[in-house]
Structures are given as structure tokens and as C-alpha cells.
């Protein structure tokens, strides 16, 4: 009788653990081919900068590529980043942009590739000559790739009751001989929000699976407009990260 009780107890424990395990991120999140590390440099909360009061976040996201995590044994000597973002006015749910072009090339869900208008590459921080700005350190299968950003908005309407979100995606590029070339290696979501009272909250985590389709759509929007704007198309990407 006692052993039956214990068995029942064990089954209950095991069931609980199974439930915990399968309802954790593994079930809802993308699976990176390596490890992300997020560095919260500085939360900008109602700070006076050069005469204006801002909210926002200064951060760095890093990625160490481990091909074996996704069942690959490829090498890659240049890992860059593509970042998509969107911002939402929480008072009415509508999207906010920083210029006309970004609105034009946004998806129906408000996502758009994060690049300064006029830059010909869609890769984050890539200069027109193919080098990268100081905001990006390209990585490889043996070195860390990093992306620095500092989004901020005025501490006033419509940026109170506001949510800003980005998905940063490391991608192997310029490695024609590698089987991982143009492979998407992971998806990391991060962002910040302001309350109506201008309090700033932040968040960051491995992106939910649903954002992978949003990413594909943002890339497709970029490519659809690229020729007309004199920009370079993104190549066809493969999701190494599931």
C-alpha cells in the first residue's frame, strides 16, 4: 500500500516536472545555435541629455556561435546582425516610426529592418563600403559577435505609454564555401516601454517562435523596396535556428 502511495507521489512529481519542462521556453521559443548574452549598459529614465528629457535603453547583445547546437559542423568567419524593430503607441495600439521610409517598408505588423535611411546594406551597422560601424563587432564560430544600440525617445507624448521592441538576429555572411552561409543563427528579443507616468521598464529574452515569420516578412519588405531605393537585397536566408 505504502509503495503504491510512493509510486503515485513519484508519478505526480514526474508529471509536474514534465509539465514545467515542456511549458518552459523550449516549447515557445526559438532555439539559438549558440549562446546569447545581453548586457544592460544603462536604462535611460527621464534623463536630460543635451537639453531634452529622454527615455530609452543603452545595451549590447552578444552571440557565440556553436554550430553543433543546431546539429551542424560548419565554420563561419563573419557573423553580422540583422535587426528588426517596431514601436507601439499603447494608447491606441498603432505603430510609430521614425521616418517615412521605415513606415513604407514596414510589415502589416509594424516590423521593419533597423537601418538609417540611405544606407545600402540591411545588415545592422554595415557601412556602404562593406565594413562595419563601431556599433557592431562581427563574430565567427570561434569569436563573439556583438551589437550595440541606444534607442531613446522624448519623455513626452506620443512616447509615454509606449513600447519599443527589437529582434536581433546573428547571421553568417560572406562565407560562400560554408554550408552555414546566409544562415540565421538565433533570434533575440529585447525592448523597453514607458508607462503613462513615464516610468521605464525593460525586457530581453530569446525570441518567441512567432517572430521568425515576422522577421521573414520584414526582410521581404526590405527586398521589395531595395531596388527602387538603390539598396542591396538581402540574400535568401535559411533558418539554422529553429
Amino acid at each position: 500500500m505504502t509503495s503504491i502511495k510512493i509510486l503515485k507521489k513519484r508519478s505526480a512529481w514526474q508529471m509536474l516536472l514534465l509539465v514545467l519542462f515542456f511549458t518552459s521556453c523550449t516549447n515557445q521559443c526559438t532555439r539559438p545555435c549558440g549562446e546569447f548574452d545581453f548586457l544592460d549598459i544603462h536604462v535611460i529614465d527621464s534623463e536630460n541629455i543635451g537639453g531634452w528629457v529622454y527615455n530609452g535603453w543603452e545595451m549590447t547583445v552578444e552571440f557565440d556561435f556553436t554550430p553543433a547546437d543546431c546539429g551542424e559542423d560548419c565554420t563561419c568567419d563573419k557573423i553580422a546582425w540583422v535587426q528588426m524593430l517596431r514601436a507601439i503607441d499603447q494608447s491606441d495600439g498603432t505603430y510609430l516610426y521614425i521616418n517615412e521610409e521605415k513606415e513604407d517598408r514596414a510589415t502589416a505588423e509594424g516590423w521593419h529592418i533597423d537601418r538609417l535611411q540611405g544606407k545600402i546594406w540591411g545588415y545592422y551597422g554595415r557601412n556602404d563600403n562593406g565594413t562595419f560601424a563601431g556599433s557592431v563587432t562581427t563574430g565567427s564560430d570561434v569569436s563573439t559577435a556583438s551589437l550595440y544600440d541606444r534607442p531613446r525617445r522624448g519623455d513626452a507624448e506620443p512616447y509615454l505609454g509606449y513600447i519599443w521592441m527589437a529582434v536581433s538576429v546573428p547571421v553568417c555572411i560572406d562565407n560562400a564555401a560554408s554550408t552555414c552561409n546566409n544562415n540565421l543563427l538565433g533570434f533575440y528579443e529585447w525592448g523597453w516601454m514607458t508607462s503613462d507616468a513615464s516610468d521605464v521598464g525593460t525586457f530581453h529574452w530569446i525570441a518567441p517562435k512567432g517572430f521568425k515569420d515576422d522577421f521573414d516578412a520584414a526582410v521581404a519588405e526590405w527586398n521589395a523596396d531595395a531596388a527602387g531605393l538603390g539598396y542591396n537585397n538581402f540574400p535568401a536566408f535559411t533558418r539554422l535556428s529553429e
Partner: protein, 241 residues
């Protein structure tokens, strides 16, 4: 009793292993206190419902109400971030003549309704009163703190700046009136901020840059050094004397 203890030990060990495995999986899934991923995703769903409702309300609004909303938005938002502007531009092309008439009847127009008309019916926009347009654009420039609605002079222009430049010689006097205004300019967007930091643009520089385009000068070569731009401004101001 011994059996029970052994079983309990097994349970504790199993629990420990499972928690360890789970923590490894979750190690890259940090959540800031107070904002969980589940809450975040739920908030996004709620915002989608709110957005759909906003669009439904906008669709039902009569044009005068949309113009009123655009007038209000002109004070705090960029045209591309005004929902009323988006509604007019995307769904009210057939009402462009009515929009033209509403704008013309106003003694003072705001810049967003004008930008909406320019987008859906350029011909009608071009036939609005020039002074009405100049005043609206000048007000917008004067009230701007964050310059995303204008663009970045050496990189790209947005609709209000293009509209000002289109006015050509008619805009010169208005633009010259800003040449002494050294209010610093902010902008949203990290890469955009770096450009602004490199050039240290002031309101007078935006006026100077638009004048340069009107005068067929290459604005892409506008000096990075504010002192050099001040010299250009001095020369323009001297023209009036």
C-alpha cells in the same frame, strides 16, 4: 521505512537533475522582474485588439473630424505617426476635393492636413494658397524639437521639407527668418543621432540646407563644422542688407 527514504532521495535527485536541466534551458531566457514574457505576449495581443478598434473608429470618422485630429496631431506628432493622416492617405483619396475645401476655408492650416492633401492629390495641394502653406510649414519648423518630420539635411528630406523646397523663391523669406535661430535639433533613432551629433545641426541649419537646395547648391556637401555654416548664413543674411 528504508525503502521510503530511498524513494524520497530518488525523487529529490530527479527533481534536482530536472531543475538543473530546466535552468540550463532557461539560462538564456532572462526576464526582468515585473515584465514576464507571457505578460508581454498577452499585452501584444491586447494591443492588436486595441489597434483594430482604433482603425474601425477611424474608418467611421467623417473627414472634418479627421482634419481636426490631424490639426491636433500636428502639435505633437510627425505626419507619418498620425493615425488620422494614415486613414486619409490610405482610404480617403476620393475625398481629396473635400479636404482641399476644408483646408482652404481655414484661416490658418496645420501642416499634417496639408501633407495628407499633398500625398493624395498633388494638383489640389499645389493650388492651395501659397501663404497658407508657408505659414503652416513655418509653424511646423518653429515648433519642432525632434526633427524626424524634416529629415537629415545631408542625407534625406521628409515631406514637409520637400514641400518647403518646392515653394522655391516663395520660401526664401520665410526660411531666412530662421537663419538666426540657433535652437539645437534632436532626432530619434540611434544611427540618426550619430549623424546629428556629427553635424550638430541647429534650426538655422535646417533653414540654410533648404535654401541651399532651392538655390541648386549640393546640400550633401553642407559643411560639418557649424562655424563654416555660420559663415554661409552670414553671407545669405548680408544679401538683404
Amino acid at each position: 521505512m528504508m525503502k521510503r527514504n530511498k524513494s524520497n532521495i530518488r525523487i529529490v535527485i530527479t527533481l534536482g537533475i530536472a531543475l538543473l536541466a530546466s535552468s540550463i534551458v532557461l539560462a538564456q531566457d532572462e526576464e526582468k522582474p515585473g515584465i514576464t514574457k507571457a505578460q508581454h505576449l498577452s499585452d501584444l495581443e491586447a494591443l492588436k485588439v486595441k489597434r483594430d478598434s482604433t482603425h474601425a473608429v477611424l474608418k467611421q470618422m467623417e473627414l472634418p473630424a479627421l482634419v481636426e485630429q490631424m490639426n491636433k496631431d500636428s502639435k505633437t506628432r510627425e505626419h507619418f505617426n498620425s493615425s488620422a493622416y494614415r486613414e486619409v492617405v490610405n482610404n480617403r483619396k476620393s475625398e481629396s476635393q473635400a479636404l482641399f475645401e476644408i483646408i482652404q476655408k481655414q484661416q490658418k492650416a496645420a501642416y499634417i492636413p496639408l501633407m495628407a492633401l499633398r500625398k493624395i492629390n498633388k494638383e489640389a495641394y499645389d493650388s492651395t494658397d501659397v501663404q497658407l502653406r508657408l505659414d503652416a510649414l513655418a509653424d511646423a519648423l518653429r515648433e519642432t524639437i525632434v526633427y524626424n518630420r524634416w529629415g537629415i539635411p545631408h542625407l534625406y528630406w521628409q515631406a514637409p521639407a520637400k514641400s518647403m523646397i518646392e515653394l522655391g523663391g516663395d520660401a526664401e523669406k520665410t526660411l531666412k527668418s530662421f537663419l538666426s535661430d540657433e535652437s539645437p535639433c534632436g532626432i530619434m533613432g540611434y544611427e540618426e543621432e550619430l549623424e546629428m551629433e556629427a553635424y550638430k545641426y541647429r534650426r538655422c541649419d535646417y533653414a540654410l540646407a533648404m535654401l541651399m537646395v532651392i538655390r541648386d547648391q549640393n546640400v550633401k556637401e553642407i559643411p560639418k563644422d557649424p562655424a563654416k555654416r555660420d559663415k554661409m548664413i552670414e553671407e545669405i543674411l548680408a544679401e538683404e542688407e
